[in-house]
């Protein structure tokens, strides 16, 4: 078998192709150096960034000095936005700041759970698509909602596995599977993954990619977790593409039955 067949297939989002199916956030690390090192170890080719006010009197250093734009596609997000106007303006500012036109739209609807406001998300996506953005919305794991987002022209849908930063893993694998079947754009599980087995399980469901931040940055040893997540995502995807055996209640012998010794 050719070696290329033994690798996961590449991921296409909009007009971009990625060899890694892990997308990572750049927040919560101890330093810019740690951010750079951890992200390099994940093998990710797309990283999320937030857009915030410049602190006029503070250090001039920037996360962008640590991320090679030739190595990473930037995915500015609208984290912290609670309404449509803020969200749209944040995307426009990101584009104007030179971060490109691919955006992760998140409109938060509830501070405690950080669940998205789906109604506002739909509205913001509509405006942004019309404005020429490649839109990747963070949303709940709702099949109908994801179908609507895909139908209006979103380049991917990004249902949550569990609340942001919760580390609970995929809470409703059946919904995620249904979403994968229901839309013809990439499905990216965004938020809620806690450890490498969560990532592998999500990928085994057939989703196209996973976006995570806290699980790596918040680990006791982020660099080790970066490697673990890379391997988890790769293993899960390969297992999905390989096609697992069906689950059965009783045993099936894996050694030949013929040729047993007579005693």
């Amino acid at each position: 078998m050719e070696e290329t067949v033994l690798k996961e297939s590449p991921l296409k989002i909009g007009d971009k192709t990625f060899n890694s199916r892990l997308i990572v956030g750049t927040g919560k690390y101890k330093s810019f150096e740690e951010t750079r090192e951890a992200i390099a170890l994940t093998g990710a080719e797309m990283v999320t960034l937030a857009v915030r006010r410049i602190e006029l009197d503070k250090s001039k250093d920037s996360i962008l000095n640590y991320l090679d734009p030739k190595k990473y596609a930037f995915l500015p997000n609208t984290a912290g936005c609670f309404n449509v106007q803020e969200t749209v303006m944040t995307c426009q500012l990101a584009r104007e700041a030179g971060l490109g036109n691919m955006v992760k739209v998140e409109v938060i609807g509830d501070e405690k759970t950080l669940f998205p406001d789906n109604e506002a998300t739909l509205e913001a996506c509509k405006i942004l698509i019309k404005d020429g953005f490649v839109v990747l919305p963070y949303c709940t794991d709702d099949v109908v909602l994801c179908k609507k987002l895909a139908a209006m022209g979103c380049a991917a849908v990004m249902p949550l596995a569990a609340p942001i930063g919760s580390g609970l893993g995929v809470r409703n694998p059946y919904n995620i599977k249904l979403i994968r079947e229901a839309v013809d754009v990439p499905v990216i599980v965004d938020a809620g993954v806690g450890t490498a087995s969560d990532a592998a399980r999500a990928m085994e469901l057939g989703v196209d990619a996973i976006l995570m931040n806290t699980a790596i940055a918040g680990a006791k040893f982020p660099l080790k977790m970066a490697v673990a997540m890379k391997q988890g995502v790769e293993a899960g995807r390969l297992a999905f593409e390989a096609g697992r055996i069906p689950k059965k209640l009783y045993a099936t012998a894996s050694s030949p039955i013929d040729g047993l010794i007579d005693v």
Binding site: T35, V51, R52, R53, I54, L56, S59, K60, S62, A79
Partner: protein, 77 residues
């Protein structure tokens, strides 16, 4: 002239337009963007966008972030 820059009142000397303001504030971030009174200003319009007393100016840049609440970047100071 008094402007509200990133939510804080600031007195700036002779900044007639966005271009002059960006120079006076010495913004050096590799990537930044400006909005005046909630309107995003493209770079080619910095010169032609006049500033008036009391204008609300937002100057933003990219920081590390994942999802909601993960925005604070490492403290470098």
């Amino acid at each position: 002239m008094r402007l509200i820059i990133n939510g804080e009142e600031k007195n700036v000397s002779s900044c007639a337009n966005v271009n002059e303001l960006v120079k006076e504030l010495d913004i050096q971030a590799p990537h930044f963007a400006v909005a005046v009174n909630l309107e995003v200003i493209s770079r080619s319009n910095y010169e032609s966008t006049r500033l008036n007393e009391g204008d609300k100016v937002e100057i933003v840049h990219a920081v590390g972030g994942g999802t909601a609440g993960e925005a604070p970047e490492p403290d470098k100071n």
